[in-house]
């Protein structure tokens, strides 16, 4: 019962704010007679969303596929590379400054290059861009987790005369899980963002990005906003999936601390 109450007390302020925000938005548009090309009313956006649900879902699915495939590739690559880098110092020294530099640059700008390398009718360039964007947070965070071992655990394992691989298997890997999931949370939301942005560079017109630009070009602004809402929902779904995965994989973290 207490858990429910504390969950409610955490949830109602943002919910209240959200509702108030939408209400004010709706009222403001009416009061100031704002043109739809500037800001449509939430109610109109909702209308457009429900009316165009089939087109929107199809576009969502296309973008989601790219994001998903890219996410899978990037996560696996990032994870493997982190494990390798933990064993090979040289690799770690190479990749860490590179990762820091890459964090500053807009990877999505590489899309036209990939479009030429493959073909403009292929989904692979976008998926590769997502994979690259996803790789770095997963790699950096997992590598960080694998590097750390609490001194008391290190001493304990030494007192057990445990070899390096045993220590890695029993202590470093499980200990690195929280770090991996931090990376995954970042990666999952970034995957959707990268998938949408890469769609702006031309090529297949199936995803959410082109849907928004074509709606805007046709001056159907409320519909464009509705597709934006769908894009936001997609990002949220991916993020929540990562959070759920984290919750499932680490049962010991769900528990409250005894007094």
């Amino acid at each position: 019962m207490r858990r429910l109450r504390s969950a409610w007390s955490a949830a109602w302020p943002p919910l209240a704010f959200g509702v108030a925000f939408l209400a004010l938005w709706e009222a403001f548009v009416d009061w100031r007679d704002v043109e739809p090309f500037v800001l449509p009313k939430p109610s109109v956006i909702w209308e457009q969303l429900t009316e165009n649900l089939d087109i929107i879902t199809r576009a969502m699915w296309a973008t989601a596929q790219n994001a998903l495939v890219g996410l899978a590739i990037g996560v696996v690559a990032g994870l493997l590379m982190a494990i390798l880098a933990a064993r090979l110092r040289t690799l770690d020294e190479l990749l860490t400054p590179l990762s820091a530099a890459v964090a500053a640059i807009p990877i999505v700008a590489l899309t036209p290059v990939l479009n030429t390398m493959f073909s403009t009718t292929s989904s692979i360039p976008r998926r590769l861009i997502v994979a690259i964007v996803v790789f770095f947070p997963v790699f950096v965070n997992t590598a960080r987790g694998l590097r750390r071992i609490e001194p008391v655990h290190a001493e304990l394992m030494r007192s057990y005369a445990a070899g390096p691989w045993t220590t890695t298997r029993m202590v470093r890997l499980p200990g690195a899980l929280p770090f991996f999931f931090t990376g995954l949370r970042i990666a999952s939301s970034t995957a959707v963002i990268a998938a949408i942005v890469s769609e702006y560079f031309g090529g297949l017109q199936k995803g959410l990005g082109p849907a928004i630009t074509s709606a805007a070009a046709a001056s159907a602004y409320p519909r464009a906003w509705a597709i934006v809402v769908a894009a936001i929902a997609l990002g949220l779904v991916f993020y929540l999936a990562a959070v759920a995965a984290e919750w499932l994989a680490m049962p010991w973290r769900r528990l409250s601390v005894a007094p």
């Binding site: 209240a16 500053a104 479009n115 030429t116 390398m117 702006y200 597709i227």
Partner: protein, 319 residues
Amino acid sequence: MSALLPRAAQVKRAAWLLVAILGLCVLWELYKLLMPDDGVSIGDTLVLPRTDDASMPHISEIIGTFDDPEVAGAAQASTVGSAVSSAAWYSLRLAAAGFLFGSLVGFALALLMQRVRIAERALMPWAVLSQTVPLIALAPLVYGWGANLTLFGLDWQPWMSVSIISAYLAFVPVTVGALRGLQSPPAVQTELLACYAASWWQTVLRLRLPAAVPYLIPALKLAAASAVIGAIVAEISTGLAGGIGRLIITYAQQATGDPARVYAPIIGAAVMGIVAVGSITLLDIGLRRFQGIPEPSAEPDIAGSVGGGPVLRPWRSRA
């Protein structure tokens, strides 16, 4: 990593970075050399890229393209390089404007959230959520405001759409990071200042602000990088003239004639990002005197602090 590394380590890192970049160039050329021109296909789909000169230009060609005249045979020859640098400068200014505005708003909001607890509870989840959703999707819509909008007596310029996207992408990490930083001083320190009857503002100035620096720096780096990406993407989705995004699209369209050309503005965009984040690092160096504060807990530095991270080092004394 807000704590600065000693000189030797910094040089070492820079050296490794160069090695990594050279390594990538070597890999590029090696791949071109070894792989078939038409790439590798599984069935109808190309899984490994084509390696002919039209699809993958040599590194030498890419470097050479900066010197090429922009418009062949034009009377007033401007090079690709100069076009890229002026476009990059233009976009950088837009991003900077957005970054400054967004950071100020973000910081102000963080102060509000620190002061008014209910504001934090109501707004923080939204701030955190904003980091996980593709707000960049709004770019074409903001651009639609075009030149037909007058806000507070100021005519909306198209470039402002780009800056406002940068501002939005920058403001969220700054809010989250600044708030974490402002809340970071342990109870023992805030209680000390309460004993001195310090006002809220004095506490902020003397305690919370300095304590927030190690959290602010990574947040500002993220905000700077986001602002740059936001500006470029906004330019691409809206086709704003003069910016590097537009240049990428233009050169990409010319790719059949001159495949190496499109790499130039892309490299320019990368440099923009590095300049933006680098300027925050300079700020970090300038604020060095606050580096005595221990590093924040095991949260990733390159991304928003979404939810609690594992704190792996409980500070227990060892006698």
